[in-house]
Symmetry: C2
Subunit: 375 residues, 2 copies
């Protein structure tokens, strides 16, 4: 198992990650407190929380305690533009949108367009510029409040960010970066510096508003090394330690572990811009099945939903617990075939994507509203 | 002997530096060509060139060849604001002013206000902001053409510079930076990245004007490691390799070698804001003398101007060769006493500083004209 912000491989043991990274399990008392706030807005506890897809955190209690006192946090998440958006990317954003809705707070969304440029040999800044725009459409399409959501793009907002980044950078040695990210001496000096830029949005609103504001970062667990390093530094600059809430990876269509990553299997990745036919073809061809070798065997012994990727994906995208439970049992009993299970996922995704793609088109007119204006 | 952009110590052997750094000696044929251009403007060859205080270069022939073809270069130099300006800082700027005058070219003047912040534990960004302004006054006071001179301040112009810096940074490994600057693993990641920001002004005008423009950097030799590294990278980004013309250090008042550095002996440093009394006191107290122990001995055997700091300083600031030669011989013969020699330097500096301080006051109204406007 390898989990860094730039590489996730092997079978992921999330309990081991909790120990290695030093994060805390998201326990029921915290979920209850979030659920209480959701209820006030007429919403249930989000299925990504109910199902512990968001499974870990740092300082969530602090965030909720402060909120109870009237000290509202802001949300911060991001996307390093290096390709089109796929379904895995949406997971933390979906929860972020939910958290914005129930807590009615600001979101600062970072597009670190230099990150993948610095880490990927062949990626150009023209590529990242194109993908920044493409990725923005997907984020806007999820329905974030334009009045409370600010996009910051590292190369575009460096005039604001660089001065803050050097304050962070001054307090991080190469040794520390090396230990956290596994760098060696062949690493380029931009990549080494980069983590300082990723730290900035966690306190930039406090700088701009000239008061300490708590920060909550929903993100996939692979980004934790950045915040593990910056959490040691940021309080020394006079700000709160950023808190975080961390999710598992949407598994690769073709694998039983790890993260869905375009660098691993591009052809087996479902993009938000895929047509219904493409979605159908990819899932039928690549989604690893927990079914038996023959229909007869399957009917007799049933399938294994715990390793079936289509079922796993439904735990991420099917909100209805009862539907999901029925699918689980029907598949386990053999009543539901692997083909039928795939068909359920295909339909679910295509319904979502049809609506998403419509909103994505409408988003083209809205980009400018979301980009943070420095003057 | 140690010469890095952040530390100069020991007795400097300039011939050894030429070999170690791989720069070229500034030979007579190059000086002749510069002198020819000077003559066209009714000016002599600058005494800093005549006396080989500027003693080394990289690619000066290329710069002059291109100029002859009508392809005019721009000048780039800088000042990392970490304290008040002292006489040593003025040396490269005086030649830069002269080169702007005789070649009638643009100057891009960088204030890398993050540099010393990143390299000096106790320096704050409030300090560097204050010194940036103070240092700007000295540069303006030297008479640079406001229409052809652009100040860029790293934290202020990062919106323009960071995107270019990451292109450079991607092509410099930690190993390379380590070898050039002597970094170890305790170095902070901002300091490691910094050299990429220092590279940017050498091609920024080419980016802004969308054509390849040659760049000439007058600087003290200790800055060479930055450009040695970036010269390997910049052509790969589609720009000319920056050329440079490099000077010796104004020696410390109290020493016989090395660079005048405020970090070594602050009390023995002459600042551009010093009063005539302070200048007098510091030179009388600290300027190392090449004279004999008693007046009688001095009259009999004469002094040694080659190790006398007051005489050495006059080679930097007394433009008149004949006057200087007379001082040399009178001191060597014992006709001129050490006290009298010091008095000559004191008078020379105080005349210069009186005028400089007047212009420095007037410069306060001009700062805004010099700062490069990005929009």
């Amino acid at each position: 198992m390898k989990v860094t912000p730039w590489e996730v491989s092997g079978t992921i043991d999330y309990n081991k990650l909790i120990k290695e990274f030093g994060v805390s399990k998201l326990d029921d008392s915290l979920l209850e407190r979030i659920g209480k706030r959701a209820k006030e807005k007429g919403l249930p506890l989000h299925h990504l929380l109910r199902r512990k897809i968001f499974f870990a955190h740092r300082d969530m209690k602090f965030i909720l305690d402060e909120y109870d006192k009237g000290d509202h946090f802001f949300l911060y998440t991001g996307r390093a533009p290096s390709g089109h958006t796929h379904m895995g990317h949406l997971v933390p954003w979906l929860l972020t949108k939910y958290l914005q809705d129930i807590f009615d707070v600001e979101l600062w969304f970072q597009f670190p367009d230099e990150e993948k440029f610095l880490f990927k040999e062949n990626l150009t800044l023209e590529d990242t510029e194109k993908y920044t725009r493409e990725n923005m459409l997907d984020i806007i399409a999820l329905g974030f409040d334009p009045k409370k959501t600010h996009f910051i793009v590292d190369t575009l907002h460096a005039g604001l960010m660089y001065k803050e980044a050097i304050k962070v950078a001054k307090k991080i040695t190469f040794s520390t970066a090396k230990a956290a990210f596994g760098f060696n001496s062949d690493q380029n000096i931009g990549a080494i510096f980069y983590t300082a830029m990723q730290a900035v949005p966690s306190f930039l609103p406090s700088i701009l508003k000239k008061r300490k504001i708590p920060c909550l970062i929903p993100h996939a667990i692979d980004q934790d090394p950045h915040f593990r390093v910056s959490r040691d530094v940021i309080p020394k600059l006079g700000h709160y330690k950023p808190a975080s809430i961390q999710c598992r990876f949407l598994p690769d269509l073709s694998s039983r572990g790890g993260k869905m990553s375009t660098s691993v299997a591009e052809h087996a990745t479902i993009y938000t811009t895929d047509s219904p036919q493409e979605v159908k073809k990819k899932i039928n061809k690549y989604a690893f099945s927990g079914g038996k070798d023959s229909l007869e065997e399957h009917r007799k012994h049933g399938g294994n939903p715990d390793i079936d990727i289509s079922y796993q994906w439904l735990t991420f995208f099917e909100e209805d617990d009862k539907k999901l439970e029925k699918i689980y049992h029907d598949y386990k009993s053999g009543k539901l075939t692997s083909g039928e299970l795939k068909a359920i996922l295909i339909e679910k995704l295509n319904i979502f994507l049809k609506d998403h793609q419509k909103k994505r088109e409408q988003a083209k007119k809205l980009i400018d509203k979301f980009i943070f204006k420095t003057h």
